[in-house]
């Protein structure tokens, strides 16, 4: 057998272990890549589908934080066509070593701990992705670019707003897209070119470097600044819709972007696939969405299995959501099987799976959208109220802005039926 042929492959590693703690309630039971998005998807579906649509067939997924929901979602990888003789997707959790057990300490460390996987799947390049971004990209074009530049490392980069650049790795390039300066999360940025966390490595270069430089833990922080001195590092320019939905506000906004016809985001046109067979109550058992008499739905995204009797405006509904008669859902994101009972209101809120809003309750009330959440002022400050998984909101309760209700909170946990803006409700019993 011609081993060279196999060596022409690109092996894909997806980093899917991120906690994404700023998403707060939404990552209480799942890792950030497993957070539902756009009705039927999870965030990682965008990376996985991009890999599928780029024609790559061997994928490793590095998990760490709360991986169960992610593992269930991946299944055999069949949803993304990763099953077959030469195809495969493998989950790579952290392992105990012979001398030291270790969680993944950074991007480079995570890759180093899986050198055996990389060697077992001979490849010419290694494509390293993050599983928590919303975008569409044909990575095979990036590989072509990498090869044509004879690069050792190519970094996917895009222009972002000056005000946001301090969160990213940044680069200054020359006319040939060669990276000549690299700064990680600079306080005073000198460029607007930001790293998207997408790396192409020559596999041999990477293996050699990881073996040699034991102190390298993170690619952005440790490797790139030194590598640009000695090696051929290029920036692959990306243009188009790309979002790191790492904050509640960014997550909400990206969902709202789905609703406009010209925002540049379109999972279907992008060829993004969800795993419809994820569990027994997965999408495959859902009938078409049912729109009842006198229901009103405008500017929204509605998944199969939903039932609308009331009013839905500017909202994204996952499968199985019921909006009962007289209820209003506005500017909100409702996950699977939420029930909004008669005459209740959900306004500017994110409801995790199976939340029940009892009759006459109001979730998201008041003009005081600027009152930040008292416990998490950096997470909830734009007016969005966050309701945790399988919570029951008591009938006729009024919940203000920037409120948070923790998962599995029951009616008996609410101290009163009037929850002012900025409050957090915990499960007490």
């Amino acid at each position: 057998m011609n081993r060279e042929k196999f060596n022409d492959n690109t092996l894909v590693l997806i980093l899917a272990g991120g906690v994404g703690s700023r998403l707060n309630n939404l990552v209480h039971t799942r890792a950030k890549p497993a957070v539902p998005f756009g009705g039927i998807y999870r965030i990682i579906d965008f990376s996985l589908s991009n890999v599928m649509n780029s024609g790559f067939i061997q994928v490793g997924i590095l998990t760490q934080y709360k991986p169960l929901s992610l593992m269930r979602h991946l299944g055999t990888g069949e949803a993304w066509d990763f099953t077959g003789r030469t195809r495969g997707v493998k989950i790579l959790p952290p392992r105990t070593g012979s001398s030291d057990s270790d969680w993944y300490k950074g991007t480079a460390d995570a890759v180093r701990q899986n050198i055996d996987f990389i060697k077992a799947h001979p490849s010419r390049e290694l494509l390293l992705l993050s599983g928590d971004h919303i975008y569409q990209m044909d990575y095979s074009e990036m590989i072509d670019f990498h090869r044509s530049k004879k690069a050792d490392i190519t970094v996917g980069m895009m222009v972002v707003d000056k005000s946001e650049i301090h969160q990213f790795g940044t680069a200054i390039t020359d006319d040939s897209q060669r990276i000549i300066e690299w700064e990680e999360k600079p306080e005073f940025p000198r460029t607007d070119l930001a790293s998207m966390g997408i790396y192409v490595f020559n596999t041999d270069y990477l293996l050699d470097m990881l073996a040699r430089e034991r102190e390298i833990i993170d690619f952005g922080k440790h490797l790139l600044p030194s590598a640009i001195e000695n090696d051929d590092i290029f920036a692959y320019p990306f243009h188009g819709y790309w979002r790191d939905v790492g904050t509640v506000q960014a997550y909400w906004q990206a969902n709202m972007d789905l609703l406009s016809l010209d925002s540049g985001i379109s999972p279907q046109d992008w060829g993004i696939r969800a795993n419809m067979e994820e569990n027994v109550r997965g999408s495959s058992d859902r009938p078409p969405g049912r729109f009842h008499k006198n229901s009103r739905t405008i500017n929204s995204m509605i998944s199969a299995g939903s039932s609308i009797e009331g009013e839905v405006v500017n909202s994204v509904l996952s499968p199985g959501v019921c909006v009962k008669e007289g209820a209003i859902v506005r500017d909100s994101i409702l996950f699977h099987d939420c029930v909004v009972e008669e005459n209740s209101v959900v306004d500017l809120a994110i409801l995790d799976k199976r939340v029940v809003v009892k009759k006459g309750a109001v979730v998201g009330y008041g003009e005081d959208k600027n009152v930040s959440n008292k416990l998490y002022p950096k997470h909830l400050y734009t007016g969005i109220t966050l309701i945790g998984k399988e919570t029951v909101i008591p009938g006729d309760a009024v919940i203000g802005r920037n409120c948070m209700v923790r998962p599995w909170t029951g009616i008996e946990d609410f101290p009163s039926s009037n929850i002012p803006s900025g409050e957090t409700i915990f499960k007490r019993f």
């Binding site: 696939r273 969800a274 009938p287 229901s295 739905t297």
Partner: protein, 423 residues
């Protein structure tokens, strides 16, 4: 070697028929593959019932334009019919062994007879024969248990219909041996001029395989006609076989004519619909027609949808009322769709008006066109559009019209009057 064999009933679905009354909807597919209910095919009801009944060894007898059906069934994974003792086999007709005579299935009984070897190979305890073209929900296990308990040669499932309609069916006179559940069939008539019982056969049979093979062989030798209802059951009655009737109480939707098909679709939309797709657990193959690649339904800022069923993959910018939209339907701005069923990937142009229309897959309806009738006096006169048509902008098509599949542009006049057929 000890053998665990969970499935002892072989299910055979008769899915081959093409029915003239369904008009252009069955020009290119068997009736069982006709889309239904916003994402399903009619055969999904039989397949899902089988799955929920734990009967997962299934043969599908098909001979008319099977491509659409074969695509839909795939390997049967959508109905969990993949495994050591689970499977779906599509059994097409084959030439006779001398290769001289062409050998199509000459009727429902002949179709099963030509596959007797398949039955013998699997050695089932009983053979369940069902149609792939009914809309209903049934757990077949009580029927099979009853059949076993009665040591019957044949058990027929029947449903009560109005006396004046019974003449359209096979009619069984069932005695009260087991009260509400069923009884011995004391008389059976196929499509009698004047029915004497309201128990209509659902063409759902549970057979003792030995008896089945015996009567099929006899029928093959003698008869000119090879239908279960017309030939096999009357012959078995005459010979005194043990035939029992099972009294089915649930909803039974017919899809034999365009009108019936449309009505069964409208039944789905009713406020207290007798068809509960979710509770019935109906599944379809989401790989077919790339349903899995659809995003959720997207509704524009001026869209309205009421009293309707809409699946993922649709984009609605206009107005939809009392209608069913399959994946990939795009209703553009200003368009109005009412009392209609639009199959996969229809595009309704700006300001078009569609009323009481069944439109097959891949039709593009030009802007400003008016199709069907808004006149309530003309209710129940459905206009049917065959697949893969570009319906020109501004056209007027009346009610009760038929447009044949894939017509070239010059075939379309400016106006198609009520009752006309364009071919």
């Amino acid at each position: 070697m000890p053998k665990y064999k969970p499935t002892s009933t072989l299910a055979m679905i008769l899915a081959g028929g093409r029915v003239d009354e369904l008009n252009v909807l069955t020009h290119y597919r068997p009736k069982s593959a006709v889309p239904f209910g916003g994402v399903y095919r009619i055969i999904d009801f039989a397949l899902s019932n089988l799955m929920r009944s734990g009967l997962e060894l299934v043969a599908i007898l098909s001979q008319f334009r099977s491509f659409s059906l074969i695509n839909h069934i795939g390997i049967g994974a959508a109905w969990d019919m993949v495994g050591r003792y689970r499977g779906v086999s599509i059994l097409p007709p084959s030439p006779s062994s001398d290769y001289v005579s062409t050998s199509w299935y000459k009727g429902s009984a002949d179709a099963v007879f030509k596959n007797v070897d398949f039955i013998e190979y699997h050695e089932p305890e009983e053979v369940l024969i069902l149609s792939g073209d009914h809309v209903y929900h049934m757990d077949y296990r009580p029927l099979i248990e009853y059949h076993r308990r009665k040591e019957a040669d044949l058990t027929i499932s029947c449903v009560q219909v109005p006396m004046e309609e019974a003449h359209r069916f096979g009619v069984a006179d069932i005695d009260d041996e087991d009260g509400d559940f069923g009884g011995r069939v004391v008389n059976y008539q196929e499509k009698p001029e004047k029915a004497e019982s309201r128990w209509a056969s659902l063409t759902l049979y549970c057979f003792n395989p030995r008896v089945l093979i015996e009567v099929l062989e006899e029928n093959a030798k003698e008869g000119n006609s090879h239908e279960f209802g017309r030939d096999i059951i009357p012959a078995m009655m005459t010979k005194g076989f043990r035939i029992y009737g099972h009294k089915f109480k649930g909803y039974w939707g017919y899809t034999r004519t365009v009108q019936e098909y449309w009505q069964t679709n409208m039944d789905l939309l009713a406020l207290d619909s007798p068809i509960d797709l979710e509770a019935w657990g109906i599944r379809t193959n989401l790989e077919n027609r790339d349903i899995r690649d659809c995003q959720p339904l997207k509704m524009g800022p001026s869209a309205t949808i009421s009293e309707s069923l809409v699946y993922n993959g649709c984009l609605v910018e206009g107005e939809v009322k009392n209608s069913i939209l399959f994946p990939g339907v795009h209703v553009k701005k200003g368009a109005r769709v009412k009392d209609s069923v639009l199959f996969f990937d229809n595009i309704v142009g700006e300001d078009a008006r569609i009323e009481q229309v069944i439109s097959d897959v891949n039709n593009t309806i030009g802007r400003d066109s008016v199709i069907g009738s808004a006149d309530p006096d003309n209710a129940k006169r459905i206009t049917t559009l065959g697949w893969n048509n570009y319906i020109p902008a501004g056209i007027r098509i009346g009610c009760d019209c038929t447009v044949y599949p894939r017509l070239s542009q010059e075939k379309f006049p400016k106006e198609i009057k009520q009752g006309e057929t364009i071919r």
